[in-house]
Symmetry: C2
Subunit: 227 residues, 2 copies
């Protein structure tokens, strides 16, 4: 595995955030799941610990406490809460890596691509917290259905977008830690493609009656290896 990090997952009581939290804890990272409500956070952490062999050490905290305690902050809240959640923990993000997993789905047609303000949702996020925060976008295409089953190999690659190559590399390491192949996918602006692709995968799920389609990148023979 990569270095051992203290990872704080904001919205970690949700399906996608919980799945990532579970897998990172299983891989040996220290994990905190955050929620607006401390009760919900504690219950969510407990439920995740019960899925870990031998019990786990995931703990729950408010989003603010989670961001404060973590080395790496992961944002997995619904799109309508993305900006407010980031804003609410802003003071605790300075100097840290913020991984945004938000997908701009608009119910009921979550299978149709939306481009909030005509760009990637994460770009707006990067402008807000200021230059001391390294924002990386990743994991949007990995179905929550796969993450929660620890023994389930995941047939989906992770596209990692961000303007800081070293920060991307850290996230690629975190993906590898949980058994995922991940790629440097370019600038943070490229996250628009990855976010939008989630709606395409949902459209494919619907059309072909499958639970969780995914993507693989082809033509890159060495991508599985460590650089």
């Amino acid at each position: 595995m990569t270095d051992r990090y203290r990872i704080g997952v904001l919205g970690g009581t949700g399906a996608e955030g919980g799945g990532l939290a579970l897998r990172w804890a299983h891989a040996g990272h220290e994990v905190i799941v955050g929620s607006r409500s401390i009760g919900k956070a504690t219950a969510g952490a407990e439920a995740l610990n019960q899925l870990l062999p031998g019990g786990g050490n995931i703990r729950g905290a408010t989003n603010a406490e989670t961001a404060q305690a973590a080395d790496i902050v992961v944002l997995t809240v619904p799109p309508e809460a993305q900006a407010a959640t980031a804003e609410g923990v802003r003071e605790h993000l300075e100097g840290k890596l913020l991984i945004d997993v938000t997908v701009p789905l608009v119910p009921p047609r979550v299978d149709v691509v939306r481009l909030p303000n005509g760009e990637s949702a994460v770009l707006a996020l990067q402008r807000k917290p200021g230059p001391g925060v390294r924002v990386v976008s990743a994991f949007q295409n990995v179905s929550e259905r796969h993450l929660k089953k620890l023994d389930h190999p995941i047939d989906c690659d992770v596209l990692v977008c961000g303007d800081d190559a070293k920060a991307r590399e850290t996230v690629i390491g975190l993906a590898r830690d949980i058994g995922l192949r991940a790629f440097h996918a370019g600038a943070l602006a490229n996250s628009a493609a990855v976010e939008a692709l989630t709606s395409v995968l949902i459209a494919i799920n619907k059309r072909y009656k499958v639970p969780a389609s995914g993507i693989r990148i082809t033509g890159v023979p060495d991508a599985g290896k460590k650089e």
Copy 2:
């Protein structure tokens, strides 16, 4: 193969259009390559015919003549020529299927996602020709490098977006005819994801020093079969 069509490729003297024209001709379709200049079109057709075993029957024509003669019109011009080219052949599109392959790349940073007017480039195109034209978007992620080598199996899926399911199905058939696996990828708005993904693939090519990365959809076991 599907029904035999007369396919007109506008911008068929370019790399991507030429590659598709070549493969469709090889699969037994009647193919016309269009260009603004008749001389360029004729020379382009001749060059493609020389790549076909036993010589080919691809012919060259102006874009207008190509659109007029074709059952199916394919738009493979550079992004800055997309709107004008479609406008220029508008009278010949009525009742036909228009396949848009345009990718909104903006040199020199073609590895950074651009969203023209904050949406898919093809959506604007659909509004223009009017309701009698069925617009489908496809083939943006298939590298020209693969298409021109007829014996080269292509390790890339085709995502087909459009608001008319029957029109999408026709395009999926045309992809299968040239050895590609293709998917119903939802509404025409979803083309934004597919167009933008091309910049991500270019970023991956650059980072990993590979000539032509691609994508595969996972988790859809029956997608290779005919519906």
